[in-house]
């Protein structure tokens, strides 16, 4: 890939990830679910691992768990998500790690501020996306969110990173 192609790709993945960030802040979860490949995995680990399936994570969501999680957020029976904390996030420091056929791996930084009960909390994370290219955009194949303090004492989350 030449420099121009590389810059173009970085622009396109950045647009995609910014769009996803806006969707999550707006809690447009149906739209978010549509971004996923059915076999995709959304993982928030506690510790680094070669295979997250074999260790305890904060979440390890396949298609069914993603849909169940969204349903839980939306149906109004979960006291922690009705109402949920509101969030504002920024995503930056994009680095393309690898490009292989129709797969792009890209890493970035995320800062998220949540607000609930008049209290704001700040979370920082390294996020690694594995994206599958489609005709017009990308699909989420894998998203691994490494919270800076993932193995420390956290608070409960009523939203997605």
């Amino acid at each position: 890939m030449n420099n121009i192609e590389q810059d173009n790709l970085l622009w396109w993945v950045t647009q995609f990830i910014w769009n996803e960030a806006a969707i999550l802040d707006a809690r447009e979860y149906e739209t978010w679910l549509d971004l996923w490949q059915p076999e995709g995995l959304y993982i928030i680990p506690i510790e680094e691992a070669e295979n997250y399936a074999e260790v305890l994570n904060l979440c390890y969501d396949d298609d069914k768990m993603r849909r169940d999680r969204i349903k839980r957020f939306q149906e109004g029976f979960s006291i922690s998500s009705a109402p949920p904390a509101t969030t504002v996030r920024t995503v930056s420091r994009f680095v393309i790690d690898s490009v292989d056929d129709d797969t792009v791996v890209v890493s970035c930084a995320q800062h998220l501020v949540e607000d609930k009960f008049g209290r704001q909390r700040l979370w920082a994370a390294n996020v690694r996306y594995t994206l599958t290219t489609t005709d017009s955009s990308f699909m989420l194949q894998k998203k691994v969110v490494r919270l800076l303090n993932s193995d420390g004492v956290l608070n409960s989350f009523s939203y997605l990173f």
Partner: protein, 424 residues
């Protein structure tokens, strides 16, 4: 029971704070009482610090807490487990800031005092300025009395307290039953979720014996289960019970058919574990072992609440640390089968993630209502907290008062112990 607390009775006298079936909300909010609890409870009784599998071999250590005091739990070269204060005897700095790991010694970063795995002071740099009275044997890390039962490690500052097994008493039987979820393998820890909640520690202590909240607070969890599992977790109409086991401990049996996981092995395999059973058979496990593992994989059908800081809760350990009068840290430690099939442990991990932790389908809703209690009681002291549910129908159980699964018998047991210890 519902009347206001007479204003003249609003004092910090434990006898008046805890009455039959109700407690004053001051016990959640008074910084003075919190300080007294540290002294009268957390420094006086057995406090759970670790499971033996967390320090599996020589030199393995983890950080834990006894009340507010940070301790190191470590296994020495002779396989003995020591619990000692994480505090250099010289000028008080912590000697370890790594949550868990393996080491041959602990060294203070300030002046280099070095301690062995048993806490003994081994060497100090430039000892010549200390006089002849300097006695290294008297300057080891402060070591707490430590005893274990069935893998559960407890420590205490109180050298005069009864042996751990006596303190646990009738709870021992339930610890033994709980450990059967190894499915024929030893139980081992598989990691933990940690979160803190702006609430008093006793709100968490109560909750582990509170089945009454389950269908309300955890409705969204129940809705995410298949029909058969939802049925299993709909236990308020079942034959379950709560029993006071003495010394503040209690057991809440929610799913009676899951009390003894080594019985009824020919029971129908639940639909959600059928794929696991097939996988184990394909891996060559004989049918009786498959049934034993599958029966154990979902955990036990009860919560054992051990005063003051740990619960064997269905499939995990729930550990509380009092941080401040209105702040409590909680660990939900996942458990698995040591040496057991990877497929079974994977299921246990996914089940743990499903309910527990900051992103579980259960814990965040618990945390929300716990915080709501703390917010609610900040307002005034004249309205009592009611823990009288089922008090009139309670009957004698195997060892103590026993009530319906949704009764507040376990909370009354814990508060009776709280009152006893706070008055001593």
């Amino acid at each position: 029971m519902n009347q206001l607390i007479d204003v003249k009775n609003i004092t910090l006298d434990p006898d008046r704070l805890v009455e039959t079936g109700r407690v004053a909300s001051t016990i959640y909010t008074s910084p003075e009482l919190f300080e007294k609890e540290q002294e009268k409870i957390f420094r006086e009784t057995w406090v759970w610090v670790a499971h033996e599998s967390e320090v599996p071999d020589k030199g393995a250590f983890k950080l834990s807490t006894v009340g507010r005091e940070q301790v190191i739990v470590v296994r020495d070269r002779k396989n003995n487990i020591h619990v000692m204060l994480n505090r250099c005897r010289h000028r008080g700095a912590t000697v370890c800031e790594i949550e868990k790991g393996k080491t041959s010694s602990f060294q203070c970063p300030y002046h280099g005092w070095g301690y062995g795995l048993d806490g003994s002071l081994r060497a100090i740099p430039h000892p010549e300025q200390y006089g002849e009275e300097f006695d290294k044997t008297q300057l080891g890390l402060f070591t707490l009395r430590t005893e274990s039962y069935n893998g559960m490690v407890f420590a205490t500052f109180n050298d005069d307290i009864e042996p751990l097994e006596e303190f646990l008493g009738a709870a021992k039987k339930w610890i033994d039953l709980f450990m059967k979820q190894g499915g024929g393998f030893p139980v081992k820890t598989l990691g933990e979720h940690q979160f803190s909640v702006p609430m008093n520690w006793k709100v968490q202590l109560e909750n582990t014996t509170d089945a009454y909240h389950f269908p309300i607070v955890h409705k969204s969890f129940l809705q995410s289960l298949d029909e058969e599992a939802e049925e299993t977790f709909t236990f308020l109409d079942g034959e379950g019970f709560v029993e006071d086991l003495g010394n503040g401990h209690s057991v809440m049996v929610m799913i009676p058919e899951l009390v003894d996981l080594e019985e009824d092995l020919d029971r129908k395999i639940p639909e959600r574990f059928e794929a696991l059973a097939d996988e184990l058979r394909n891996e060559g496990y004989p049918d009786d072992q498959v049934r034993r593992i599958v029966r154990a994989v979902g955990g036990s059908g009860f919560n054992l609440n051990l005063f003051p800081n740990v619960a064997c809760s269905m499939a995990f350990f729930r550990v509380l640390t009092p941080v401040a009068v209105d702040k409590t840290a909680i660990r939900h430690i996942a458990l698995g089968m040591d040496g057991g099939p990877a497929a079974a442990n994977r299921i246990r991990l996914r089940l743990h993630e499903h309910f527990q932790g900051p992103m579980g389908f259960g814990s965040p809703d618990d945390a929300e209502v716990w915080e709501r209690i703390q917010r609610g009681v900040e307002g005034g002291t004249e309205l009592p907290i009611l823990v009288d549910r089922g008090i009139e129908k309670e009957a004698q159980g195997e060892v103590g008062p026993r009530g319906h699964v949704s009764d507040e018998t376990g909370m009354r047991a814990a508060y009776a112990m709280w009152k006893r210890m706070m008055q001593e």
